[in-house]
Amino acid sequence: MTDHEWGFRTRALHAGARPDPTTGARAVPIFQTSSYVFEDTADAADLFALQKYGMIYSRLGNPTVSAFEERMASLDGALGAVAASSGHAAEFLAIATLAEAGDHIVSSSHLYGGTITMFSNTLGRFGIETTFVDPTDVEGFAAAIRPNTKVLFTETIGNPSGAIADIEALADVAHSNGLPLAIDSTFSTPALCRPMEWGADIVVHSATKFIGGHGTSLGGVVTEAGTFDWGSGRFANMTEPVPTYNDLRWWDNFGEYSYLTKLRNDHLRDLGSTLAPMHAFLFLQGLETLDYRMAGHVANARAVAAWLKADARVAWVNYAGLPSSPHHDMATKYLPDGPGAVFTFGLAGGRAAGASFIESLEMISHLANVGDAKTLILHPASTTHSQLTDEQMRAGAVSPDMVRISVGLEDLDDILYDLDRALEAAHG
């Protein structure tokens, strides 16, 4: 008897969501409840001691959220998942589970600005030091590893630089040093890239973006492959007794399940950055059409990038889907169906022309988000990356004239019409 391998689109519709056994409801019900009645006092005690599975309180778990978590785990090819209230919360939980004061992480310098700030500011104040390195320099990651390093971190597609991570090489560097590789895969989603197939151990997504897909809800998720050896001795908090749970040891009791079990029951418990069930429901709806939407986003993005590239009013276009991009080879390897729909360009006329261009758009939305079904535009240097120092901006490849676009699902002709009109106004 062999296990049938269900396809991606089937799992996007079904994984984690069998019909409700009580009512037969086919859609996943929104369990809008804070807490769950125990069978008796022994049941309550067993649940609190992690000796049986079940619901206690929606900070720790909720059946609608569980359906989203299992579906994400399935689509990422992961062992499991834990959802969080935002992509940022998911990143913090992913790090908090494996690092503590006195530890060190090595990270790409081409991250979403808010993540760079979280790592350097909040993690720094909590005693976790980060070394930022050029994401295209695999040797740089290796050289930055110290005895107290706990993880290598990067983004599949850098925001906004568009640098594509050499996941396989980074996983080799991480594993040969006894470390896990964690990847933020928000810009690609599991429809375009599944980093675990290339050796990544932990994947983080902001579900707010393409997973939800409609710009309605904030959320995030951490998935883990379940193949990393947390019992090597390098991760004492995985192998030492846990006083808050009767001195159990995560690795001894939960084996491959220990990272996610610890993440949920130590850190989601303590931090409380929980995904709301209504948002989980909207993300489940988004996942049902993820593969189709990503194909549409990529098709429009390719056409918009090529159109901009050919326009004299545009000084440069950086989209890994264009053969002229320095990241084109990596994109071909890791993102064969297309390197997403978020990319950057600069106008002839620099920053002033860019500002005028953004203000002249009519249908395209000027806002701080990506991955909406609608086309979005932004000037990173004055918004998403504005809290970075000049040096951090240079290291992150954020230039003053850079415009970031998240290409949506409108009619291509209408996107080009709006861009053309605004370019004309900017160069009027």
Binding site: D3, A15, P19, G80, A81, Y245, D247, F254
Partner: protein, 163 residues
Amino acid sequence: MAERVAVPGWVPPSALQRKRILDNTRSIAIVGASANPSRASNFVATYLLSTAKGYTLYLVNPRETEILGQPVYPSLQDLPEVPDMVDVFRRSEDLPPIAQEAVELGSKAFWAQLGLWSAEAAQIASAAGLDVVMDRCTKIEHARFAGGLHLAGFNTGVITARR
């Protein structure tokens, strides 16, 4: 953790095969049962008693008389019936004689807990026709199909439109 040496003639059972093994089991003997609530054997026993109530559970440990309100038997031979499954929580090097005991008793399945692996034990049990599972947790595998693992956000692999 013991090295996962390949076992001639035995392939680790797939998820569906593990489900079938659990479905075909009515009685489980936990060899190496511990009274310490932080030990995996205590965890699994608590789970099986509270959640998987269809099983008759026997706890085996020569140094204990009662755990979780259940009687504890000194050895597999002392049980009131032949257990369908022998579920071992001992060191990997202790597994072969326990596998031999399971064969001699006439059990249907030999199961070694997460982290345990013995090619010799697996060969003894599988050559005698027993189902063999190693480096798996009965709690986790039961929960995979009974819904507990799903509630904890794990990938059960279950796709179904049935109620």
